[in-house]
Symmetry: C2
């Protein structure tokens, strides 16, 4: 186990009916930017719940809607201008990971001096950020309990991330009932997103960290167990609650402390999203089979552990067990409606060369827990990910 | 899963060499109470490391030594008087759970108006506390990453707890090398303490919380796996690191969110410590067999899950599996040098009546996750714990 520092001061407020209390955790007298995405929170009543809660707390707020999936710099800068003009000093993000990621960028950009794109493009150091709270409506990204954000720029076709303790939410409200109106596609995406977040922190090399391994396996096994109940209708409260808790635990930093981390599936997947507009989770399911194909030897020990502990595969040769674990994982993704591999995801063959060149040009290589994924390996991954 | 709020802002600084940086996380200009127990931190060099780190950070500090195992109110009040007289405004606790618990009381008592014993006896609400940092030298109690403290009063023979977000450490430094000089008795106690902390939050009733269950099982299985390596000489860095991380995760609040909790083993054990001076962990191993004997039906489903997932017991009748799981757990305690049951622990038969009466008189009953342990059940537990 390597040395680490873990500091996660996000206050997590979990359960049904908790949105009504959201005003209590916002400083009295704050001027709030109430930011959200499309009209879904109006249709499902969450917008009205938030308006009521802010009103009961006597808070002044200004709404900003239209933060899109894979939030765009161009959109977010409009919110920054609004917040600066209206002197807003607290941000309440209501939505899924894209709204939360977008609001982290807004929080960082409002007091930022200079070109705000430098926050992601140059990972400029943040002196401060506007405080942020979250009402989460889509369990998936873990953004509600971490310091990270990914933002896209339409003008350049880039999708880039940044992270800073300054943009960690002060609180996040997770009401499982807020997921009841989600379409199956978003539920399936959320399950796959959480699952691959764990794999990025787990499927590397043994690091004498048995607790981190078992914590990761706990999230993976729970996602496998609850997935059919999550996808069932009518919505099941406990299944949705467990999904929300799994998705948060998958990427609140805890399971990855002191161990190697991969993230190559994400980095390659971001490029597919930027190029072809594919959903984030679908990009992960498209790329992951290629990563385990190309990186099979480097990841052999953990692939065998994953096979045994998550999929119960203990019979047959090592290679058979690994093949079965990969097949079961692909089938799991497809069981929640997410295509596995590039062909099923509709990624054209040109992507292998294009993505490799884009990552290379931007200095985004090498990737992987041991830095062994260069331009040739990115091509090989996308070719093998069929 | 029940609603919950989880907020743990403790900054955890983990790994070898981290004590040298301890001055960085204390506010500049702070006047520090450097509090510790006996002479062990002088013998093993940690005292010198802390003095160096505080000196390099230019911090003024005053030492207070002599905080004993099961820290005494009478001792702690001397530190409170010293801190008030010297106008100390930061506490650095260097030691195990007793020093940390003691310093939480000191932190709360310094600004407290009125009789400081009310902090524990009446669970008086705290308006504020002096900020606290920790250098942990004994993995066991989890106090380094939670809001709780247990204090004893010699005059009355009481051992009572309190908790407040105000006394959560601002940071805790966990250097596994600081455990190298621990005697086997303290290592074994630490393993058992952490194990029983998890059992108190896990071995209750199913609550549709599969992730919390698996997180708890992850800590239990890891403790079983690493225990022989922890007890081996010469000290093994990775084993000690994993023990430290397990002990913190066992009681930082995470695994117990949204699920029923028991704590009857602890409440009864505290009385045994107060009456007979038995080590905290040894009181838990003495009492636990009685709790599972008396509460077997209420805990049946989770006992079977514990048997299967932690001990791999899937053959035989339900009762056989439960019996085997209890036997394996007792054997596990004894494998690290901690006697299981009251007879091996040297608890006299009179304890059953005495402890029941003491808990009853103080209004400490009923106990257990469902409030089903009254005075008669406490007696039955201690009689059955042989």
């Amino acid at each position: 186990m390597d040395n680490f520092t873990y500091h996660n001061p996000v206050k997590l407020i979990f359960g049904k009916g908790q949105i009504a209390q959201v005003g209590r955790d916002i400083p009295k007298g704050a001027r709030v930017l109430f930011a959200f995405g499309g009209g879904s929170i109006k249709a499902n009543g969450i917008h009205a719940q938030v308006v009521d809660a802010l009103g009961q707390a006597g808070l002044t707020f200004v709404e900003f809607s239209g933060i899109e999936p894979n939030p765009r710099y161009e959109t977010l800068m409009k919110a920054v201008e609004l917040a600066r003009a209206e002197k807003l000093d607290f941000i309440l993000a209501v939505g899924g990971g894209s709204v939360v990621d977008g609001c982290k960028f807004i929080a960082a950009a409002i007091p930022f001096e200079g070109d705000c794109w430098d926050i992601v493009a140059k990972r400029a150091r943040l002196k401060s950020a506007v405080p942020l709270g979250v009402v989460l409506t889509l369990p998936a990204t873990g953004s509600e309990m971490n310091a990270f954000s990914v933002v896209s720029r339409e003008e350049t076709g880039e999708k880039l991330g940044f992270g800073s303790p300054a943009v960690m939410p002060r609180f996040s409200v997770l009401d499982p009932e807020s997921t009841y109106s989600l379409p199956p596609r978003q539920l399936g995406n959320g399950i796959v997103d959480a699952f691959v977040h764990v794999l990025e922190q787990y499927l590397t090399q043994p690091a004498d960290a048995p607790l981190q391994d078992r914590l990761a396996e706990a999230v993976l096994a729970t996602l496998v167990e609850i997935a059919p109940k999550v996808m069932a209708t009518p919505p099941d409260y406990q299944a949705r609650a467990n999904l929300m808790w799994c998705a948060t635990m998958a990427l609140n930093g805890l399971i990855g402390q002191g161990v190697p981390q991969d993230w190559s599936t994400h980095m390659i997947g971001h490029e597919l999203t930027a190029l072809y507009g594919i959903d984030h989770a679908r990009s992960l399911a498209a790329v992951w089979p290629g990563v385990v194909a190309v990186r099979r030897e480097a990841k052999r020990a953990k692939l065998l552990q994953f096979a045994a502990r998550v999929w119960g595969l203990t019979e047959g040769s090592e290679d058979q067990r690994i093949d079965q674990a990969v097949a079961k994982t692909r089938a799991f993704f497809e069981s929640v409606g997410v295509p596995a591999g590039t062909i099923a995801a509709g990624i054209p063959a040109e992507a292998a060369q294009l993505v490799s060149a884009r990552l290379s040009e931007r200095g985004g290589l090498p990737l992987g827990e041991d830095g062994a994924i260069g331009a040739a390996e990115v091509r090989a991954i996308l070719e093998a990910a069929a």
